[in-house]
């Protein structure tokens, strides 16, 4: 019965390996490296030899025994198995030997060699089952093959996500387009970007209208329309029309180079979990070796000396060898960095650059979030937030105000003009008079319009309400008659409130808002968004102090994140456990100082980032717990002789496969909207 199962298993190995080979060659076009192809061939050859030998029993070989040389058949049989053993395990023998030579004894090659050679020796002694030794090697090689294939494939997939590198830039000379290396293009050069091409260098459009896909930079999938005068960042894909761009920066300083550098750098910063596994693996392998040694000698010696029975060295030796097979730390060592890498890759796809797996880990433990107000929670630009004009004439009054203000460079004037939004017909405006610090008077369609603050209206002797509102008030009067007012303030981003609610839901305990603005404004915005703690009227250095104080209040396993737009808050970004810079693709200082860079300024990205890091961390922990528990269970079962070497290798390979597949799950990211 057992033999049939083994036969079927061997046949399956041959079929699956062959099928895998065909698949990888045909479908995956050259994904297999030469080394991998060699391994496949060796697996096939040796399993076919072993499979064939299964049908020739030891008795058949024994018939070859001749009188002069009684063991001829036995030796021939051993030789056949040895050939297949060397074919499949030759390189591992070599590696193990080299390891010993280089004083690096306890690696997995060594374990496999000891286990399989031990099994072989037992089989020679008993003229029994040589198959086991070869099978252990075959399984081990299949495991290694699968691992290198799966890791290579996910590595390519993840890298492809972040593959923003433009290969060339088009320079037009005398009507001919010439492709050049983007690194050789000097700032100020005009380059052409054809539809479908990636913008190679940051610059400003000098000619052409198009829409660009910025998803590689921001994760935003809706194309952005661009025209002459607009800035386009490298890494965007030009979708519809030919555009010409005057480059603003060199290739090395462009957005795309910076992102690539960040991503490359990210993977070399290791997290605590990774360090844990590295340290673990360092002690684990030797520990298991010594445990195996103890298992081989202690129980039989006890049995012999104390109980006085037969020692049964063979049984215990076999169990010790099984122990060695199980001990290979591969699944752990591979799945953890892969999990983090996939997490960083997935975050990158969503427009969140995480500078290293240690920050991914910290992000998942974020309990306190400190946010800058202007530019982070609010848009950082002034907008008309309230209009209190006579309802019936509202449109017309706004038009008057806008026309009167149309030539003023003041931010308040500009926000009124943009609130109106209509065409400005300058021929309707005469006698413009602006008094700095007060307001503007002008004749619109012949009517005298006055827009300005309270002081201005007092000066003009026009009666107006005195108001207590948050923001800046601009009063309006037409022909000396008071008509109402508008409030201009920095408006809250449409996603801020939702983001803060979701942050709480995601487990953030405390939200803090810092701002240099007045108390009234800060309180209002804070209340609107549901923020726990508000600090207002701060100088830039106060922000740093408050972050420092908050850092002292948190508990040991909690992390504090500071979110800012990178303008004058670089010190706070660096002081916090995690500095998150928002919409910072333009600011070098922010990219340098931050640990996490959000490529656009949507506060929902903070939520997405935390979710990704949580998911990634839980996958990593699942893998650690899963791999370790399967190992320990098999170790215990192996020690009691319940698990044989076959199942041990199978468990080992199986755990690794599952762990790798689980790790790749971290790559898929749900975007928060």
């Amino acid at each position: 019965m057992g033999k049939i199962i083994i036969d079927i298993l061997l046949a399956l190995i041959i079929l699956i390996t062959a099928a895998f080979w065909l698949y990888a060659e045909k479908k995956d076009g050259g994904a297999l490296k030469k080394k991998q192809k060699n391994v496949i061939k060796r697996i096939l050859i040796s399993s076919i030899i072993v499979f064939a030998l299964q049908f020739v029993s030891a008795d058949v070989f024994d018939m070859l025994n001749i009188r002069a040389f009684a063991y001829a058949g036995r030796i021939l049989r051993l030789a056949a198995y040895l050939v297949s053993y060397v074919i499949i395990g030759g390189d591992i023998l070599k590696k193990a030997f080299r390891g010993i030579k280089n004083k690096r004894v306890f690696d997995e090659n060594f374990l496999m060699v000891i286990a399989s050679l031990g099994a072989l020796a037992l089989a020679v002694y008993e003229n029994g089952d040589y198959l086991e030794a070869v099978a252990v090697m075959i399984f081990y090689q299949i495991g290694e093959l699968f691992q290198s294939y799966a890791v290579g494939k996910s590595r390519r997939n993840i890298s492809a996500l972040m593959d923003l590198r433009p290969d060339y830039a088009n320079i037009e000379t005398d009507g001919n387009i010439e492709r050049v290396d983007p690194e050789t293009v000097a700032p100020g050069t005009v380059i052409s970007v054809l539809p479908g091409e990636r913008v190679p260098i940051d610059g400003i459009i000098t000619d052409g209208v198009s829409s660009v896909n910025t998803s590689a930079l921001t994760g935003e999938s809706i194309p952005r329309d661009v025209a002459v005068g607009d800035e386009v960042l490298s890494g965007c894909i030009n979708l519809t029309g030919l555009i010409k761009i005057r480059t603003e920066k060199s290739f090395g300083d462009s957005t795309v180079s910076k992102i690539l550098h960040l991503v490359e750098d990210a993977s070399t910063r290791k997290s605590k979990s990774e360090d844990f596994i590295t340290k673990f693996a360092r002690y684990y392998t030797p520990a298991v070796c010594f445990a195996a040694l103890a298992l081989a000698f202690l129980p039989p010696l006890c049995k012999m000396l104390i109980l006085g029975g037969s020692a049964g060295f063979g049984v215990w030796l076999y169990r010790a060898l099984t122990f060695l097979v199980i001990s290979c730390p591969c699944a752990l060592v591979i799945s953890i960095p892969l999990g983090f890498f996939a997490g960083i890759g997935g975050a990158g796809k969503a427009g969140i650059l995480i500078k290293g797996s240690s920050f991914l880990e910290a992000l998942a433990q974020t309990k306190i979030i400190v946010m800058d107000k202007t530019g982070t929670l609010t848009k950082g630009v002034f907008e008309v937030s309230e209009i209190h004009f006579n309802e019936a004439e509202k449109e017309k009054l706004l038009e008057y105000a806008a026309l009167a203000e149309s030539s003023s460079p003041h931010p308040i004037a500009k926000s009124i003009v943009s609130a109106y939004g209509g065409e400005i017909d300058r021929s309707r405006i005469t006698e413009i008079e602006e008094i700095a610090g007060y307001g503007v008077t002008a004749r619109v369609d012949g009517k005298l319009v006055a827009v300005g603050n309270g002081r201005f209206f007092k000066k003009l002797n026009i009666k107006c309400e005195s108001l207590d509102v948050v923001g800046t008030v601009a009063y309006l009067a037409v022909e000396g008659e008071y008509k109402g007012y508008t409030v201009i303030s920095d408006t809250v981003k449409s996603n801020s409130a939702k983001a803060l609610k979701l942050l709480k839901k995601a487990g953030v305990k405390k939200t803090v808002m810092l701002t240099g603005d007045g108390k009234a404004v800060a309180e209002k915005v804070g209340k609107e968004l549901g923020i726990d703690e508000i600090h207002s009227e701060l100088m830039p250095e106060d922000k740093l102090r408050i972050v420092g104080e908050l850092l002292k209040t948190k508990r040991k396993n909690e992390r504090l994140a500071f979110v800012g737009d990178g303008i004058n808050d670089a010190p706070a970004l660096m002081t916090a456990d995690i500095g998150i810079a928002m919409g910072a693709m333009g600011s070098d200082a922010a990219i340098e100082a931050a640990d996490v860079v959000l490529m656009d300024d949507d506060p929902m990205k903070i939520v997405t980032g935390i979710r990704i890091s949580r998911k990634c961390l839980s996958i990593v922990y699942q893998n650690i717990v899963f791999a370790l528990s399967v190992k320990f269970i098999s170790l215990i079962l192996g020690a009691f002789g319940i698990v044989n070497m076959w199942i041990a290798v199978f468990a080992d390979v199986g755990v690794m496969v599952l762990a790798v597949l689980n790790a790749v799950r971290a790559l898929s990211v749900r975007l928060e909207k």
Partner: protein, 72 residues
């Protein structure tokens, strides 16, 4: 100033071992090997020749995995 080099390494555990080995090479201030991106990030101490140190590092790595490669 840290430089990043391509490194060819086949197993994750070996990458960790290589990292430890490279850190012990004379002239190396800081070294990180990333198995996932197959990159080596190396920071040298003052006054050491880059090529020399990398050569030494490669030698150490070959002891761990004889078919590994660092491209410099």
């Amino acid at each position: 100033m840290a430089n990043i080099y391509e490194i060819e390494v086949d197993c994750a555990n070996c990458a960790n071992l290589m990292e430890a080995a490279i850190r012990k090479v004379k002239g190396v201030q800081k070294a990180d090997v990333s198995f996932m991106t197959q990159k080596l990030k190396l920071e040298l101490c003052e006054g050491y020749n880059e090529k020399q140190v990398l050569k030494e590092a490669l030698k150490e790595c070959k002891k761990i995995e004889d078919d590994c490669e660092i491209y410099f």
